[in-house]
Symmetry: C2
Subunit: 801 residues, 2 copies
Amino acid sequence: MADSRVTQELALIDAYWRAANYLAVGQIYLYDNPLLRQPLTKEHIKPRLLGHWGTTPGLNLIYAHLNRIIKKHDLDMIYVTGPGHGGPALVANAYLEGTYSEVYPNISQDVEGMKRLFTQFSFPGGIPSHVAPETPGSIHEGGELGYALSHAYGAAFDNPDLIVACVVGDGEAETGPMATSWHSNKFLNPVTDGVVLPILHLNGYKIANPCVLARISHDELDQLFRGYGYTPYFVEGDEPAKVHEAMAATLDQVVAEIGRIKADAAASGVIERPRWPMIVLRTPKGWTCPKEIDGKRTEGYWRSHQVPMGEMHANPSHVRLLDEWMRSYGPEELFDDGGRLRQELAELAPKGKRRMSANPHSNGGLLLKDLRLPDYRDYAVTVSSPGETIAESTRAMGTFLRDVMKLNQDARNFRLFSPDENNSNRWQDALEVTNRAWLGDIYPYDDHLAPDGRVMEMLSEHQCQGWLEGYLLTGRHGFFSCYEAFIHIIDSMFNQHAKWLKVCNDIPWRQPVASLNYLLSSHVWRQDHNGFSHQDPGFIDHVVNKKAEVVRVYLPPDANCLLSVTDHCLRSRNYVNVIVAGKQPAPQWLTMEEAIRHCTAGLGIWEWASNDKGTEPDVVMACCGDVPTLETLAAVQLLHTHAPDLRIRVVNVVNLMTLQPPSEHPHGMSDHDFDALFTTDKPIIFAFHGYPWLIHRLTYRRHGHANLHVRGYKEEGTTSTPFDMCVMNDLDRFHLVEDVIDRVPKLGSRAAYAKQAVRDKLMEHKDYIARNGDDMPEIAGWRWGRLEAAAAQGSTEADNV
Amino acid sequence: MADSRVTQELALIDAYWRAANYLAVGQIYLYDNPLLRQPLTKEHIKPRLLGHWGTTPGLNLIYAHLNRIIKKHDLDMIYVTGPGHGGPALVANAYLEGTYSEVYPNISQDVEGMKRLFTQFSFPGGIPSHVAPETPGSIHEGGELGYALSHAYGAAFDNPDLIVACVVGDGEAETGPMATSWHSNKFLNPVTDGVVLPILHLNGYKIANPCVLARISHDELDQLFRGYGYTPYFVEGDEPAKVHEAMAATLDQVVAEIGRIKADAAASGVIERPRWPMIVLRTPKGWTCPKEIDGKRTEGYWRSHQVPMGEMHANPSHVRLLDEWMRSYGPEELFDDGGRLRQELAELAPKGKRRMSANPHSNGGLLLKDLRLPDYRDYAVTVSSPGETIAESTRAMGTFLRDVMKLNQDARNFRLFSPDENNSNRWQDALEVTNRAWLGDIYPYDDHLAPDGRVMEMLSEHQCQGWLEGYLLTGRHGFFSCYEAFIHIIDSMFNQHAKWLKVCNDIPWRQPVASLNYLLSSHVWRQDHNGFSHQDPGFIDHVVNKKAEVVRVYLPPDANCLLSVTDHCLRSRNYVNVIVAGKQPAPQWLTMEEAIRHCTAGLGIWEWASNDKGTEPDVVMACCGDVPTLETLAAVQLLHTHAPDLRIRVVNVVNLMTLQPPSEHPHGMSDHDFDALFTTDKPIIFAFHGYPWLIHRLTYRRHGHANLHVRGYKEEGTTSTPFDMCVMNDLDRFHLVEDVIDRVPKLGSRAAYAKQAVRDKLMEHKDYIARNGDDMPEIAGWRWGRLEAAAAQGSTEADNV
């Protein structure tokens, strides 16, 4: 470009930037008089001022310059806003590009529309202050901070033509998740994936403090990002003209560099990890707002973080200052008489789907294709009679997922995510058809590492969650497998995603995306190697606090149920599905046909284990989760054998949400059906996988609740035997039998004797494991199938539980 | 040192290392024959093999070399084990130093003791597989991974003579919290704080994958740590003799460098951030175990992560291999006939409190001193009549904490922690007597930044939590203030700390430490600037899943209650105390005398707001949390005014745990007292700060539970007015009145009319805020004090709610 053309182009970009800044200030402050056609008075100003100015001018600057480079090279690009509280910036840009008026026709491209644009911001009945689901072009709200880059990389995977520009705030850069997410470049394939362009925005301040990365030396900063594997480019300044020049030149360089890397990789056939470019942009916080307000430093300081000045209704000098501030952008040069952006500025923006606010990748449901799914029934574990087959449930799931992976290799829209637990959780079969993504050094003896692997493993639950969210929100599918206890690490990220989905349900132009699916394995009852620190089944407690419309929780008792549930989850949309299932060899209960029926109902009577045969039972033995199911059946067998006249009904629960009233959850069972299953007046001994209070919380309105006695995890544990874990928490077969004895009057005089027998058994167990370090053979090798033999002699031992 | 002396010393250190490795393998495998005095047979081997070998030889190597340098310079040093699953290593070293036998006399320094040492490991009734609270010398279990360095820095703060050696596993190094915790050096004062010596142990593999930092170039690794502000020293190799030499030389260099930095800082008086040394140690995973097992690569590979070989009872060749492996350490050279470590090796370890396993900093309760506390009553907000005074509750708390800070400046044992929210949460008064710790660059206009500040602010909840835990576990005091929604970021860290405390309660030699205190503010009901993403009151749901003995939850309704609770928390030991309180100007209800009585009881009737006057009420209006209390009182006032014959009892709950039965929590109220307060048959309308189900969960066994109707946060919210937040969640005064109308038969024919009046009010509210963007003056300015005037005309409007 000739110099004068450059100058002219940059002058236009500056005007575009000023327009965006003007619209942002207007959103924060103005209720009326949007173009300042009249002198500003306090009546034009909102009664409550809410929002964040500090990050906004930087976000606008980046946006304007990315537009330039998109147009120049016809780039397919989206914009991930780490400082997501800079809502005014992204809304302003979507409005300038016309997208906003397309999806919200009432916010039109005229004075009236601009007034509404301003008024609605952070206003009752209007829009949130953040880059929320309501904001076109966003896949990232950023409320929590920390995973903008993880989202960006998730969006880039399998989108080879996409560039994801990702602004990282220097506050956010202090969070743990962000600090490790820079390493995502070790998992990005330069040929088959897209590109992430991180832009670290050093505006120097958080709410009240400077930022760490803004206060280390240039050399350290340079070394840090080279150490992370990037080539950093620095753009620094506080004079707009110079910064425009530097930013434009740097983006030219960076985009050329990206093109060279992509071309080289495609040509060479040797996939090595490139040193991708990243940009460090250092500009003042709250840039272009008043330098001082009431004699206090504001521009380039933390005081500009939210609303730089308040008291607009009490302090006329503030109104004058705002008037000056807004007029400094020259609104009359930016908008025509009708209030529309002037044509020469409007032409700076890309057109159609090239607009970052209208790029379909940012509304991933538009691009979503159903997965090709094999028939999950083909993966059934053969169960000739309940409890005879032993299998690892999650391994069967892994085999099914292997073939899901295989069928969708060409579509390249399915990945598995795990913090180094893929094989531990028994999904190793997936590695028969793909590899683990790895762009670090690879040694000859390494195991299934490859640059084009589709199993994503990094020891960071934050990364797994962030990558998967980014992948889903751009219209693809995935599954996250995690140790149950450590899924709590992403509690807060789950919150944000569930909130995002809840809001999306009310936005007609947001298309449904694939559900976020979790397998939680290596669960509380079988942390043999790790003990107490690895025991926490509370994620599901956390999940059920979120809106019922978006959360689902399943605890399949065996492999066939797990397969049925997995298939269901992979077909679902806009949910968070949580599946809890064990990986250890365990008895299998249901044939595939039975499993399908059981999972479709969500819960049901296991007739083959019950002996109430159409009559009212004496006791209901309910169970939910694989280990509690096993212990319940062992308890039932003891009772059948030793007290055969006791009528027992066994109810198993797969879909936890069925326990709630239908008013609380769409899967909730009617009271009528619930009463029919659980009775209204008989004791219910409920063995539960998690914290027992969750069952009470879900059922407290049920008629039979007063008779409900729940056993579950009560925070007792250490490195011990599997059965001892149950004993420590009173969930074992003997305690369950004791619970029945305590609650069924029918046992009469036999009760005391039976109780002593059960306690003797527990002492025997304690004594045995202390001597042998392992469970008694009769417990470790217990099988339901032995019932017949035991039952045959049952009546003679009726008093000997 | 002369060369031969060096060689001789290193040969002894090698022997010490072999002894530790021998003891570690023994713990994982052996049940008997601890010194291999007989040929090894399968009968000598444990039935179940549990534990982690992979990291163990590295941990042992570091330990032996740190011992050398401790003795050489008489250093005060503790050892934080990032790879905390390497329990066998730390237990072995504590045993070799004699500490283990001192605290567990049965694990004696002889053959019998060694047998017990081996047997107890990961064995029922024995000890956990991790570096658990049971392990002398540990302040860090490391179950979750990610915050070893945060713990280390927390331990170093205000311990100027302490060096905290911190081993960081290369798996753990991939986590987010760890990735940002390297930046802790920007908060460490070289004069008044101690030193952290990070040792990144690159053993190359996690459970099944290589580690990112082990697979980037030397240059990148070097740049990364220089970028983090350290001077890295590399020790790399797989030949023990050479590694010993390099490790010893490097530690000599590093300790000299630390000494130089400390001396320079003390001498110069100018406190600048030093480039502290750190060590990168690259040695094979599972070093010294069989190179191959069954033809598969094991040493230096992920297969050595846990137990390198199993099937010991079925495969005689494995027994032979184990025999060879263990004998390769030369046990007969290491232990004397009695089974005791040979004298020349025992002398390598430091003595007494210099032993890292016996350093009192690792059993912080030994060093704990009570805080000097001002009389919190002196900070009381004056309340002449309920609701008349308006104050920001957390600001009063901040003033009290300022003086706590002041009184303990000399003791240097109190700090405040916050992710850039100290001032936002209204603790700014603390900055009158101290500063924010900051070792980055400082500009002239910066606000209260100083190298010796005692307010710790970094935008990472993980860092705040990790630092505070490290600070508490080494015997000091602190308080963590956080936005309520984002405390979920450390859910899992809280879990681990609560579990640590629970276990410590059963270990007699672990002395009690100060409680971990949280203030959660900027809470769900007042996230005016941020909206939905910042709304989640569920941390307390998470907390109450942990053992009742260690968790406490308080929701003080006003400043004086908050002061009383704060004082109580600062005096308590071994708890996690969670306080939820608002920061916005709000009516104050109780005088300090009343507040003390109320907080001591934990809950109680507010007689001044009730009109049941010793009779049975028609309805109980219960409330918990500041905003629900306000709305309840506003509802009560409406009812008093418009239905004065309705007998209302107002109950406020401060201590949430009182609601549980005494069998569930030590603060639980007896059923008798509960019934007296809440009645057994009258409707209870309970306005709760958090998710409503939590109240049901706590009270489902209470007699009156069927009559309990709870309002709380049900995941509805956006950027709107404070009162509208209540309306969206049905927690507002009008909905509460409606709830009463629906449930009190006494209102008879007036009910329908009153309900319509209430609904009109809600419509008026919606209409008003949509037009004005703010709450109606009669709501925003509502005062309880107006009751008298309203009540005077009450009876004439009795039908007009």
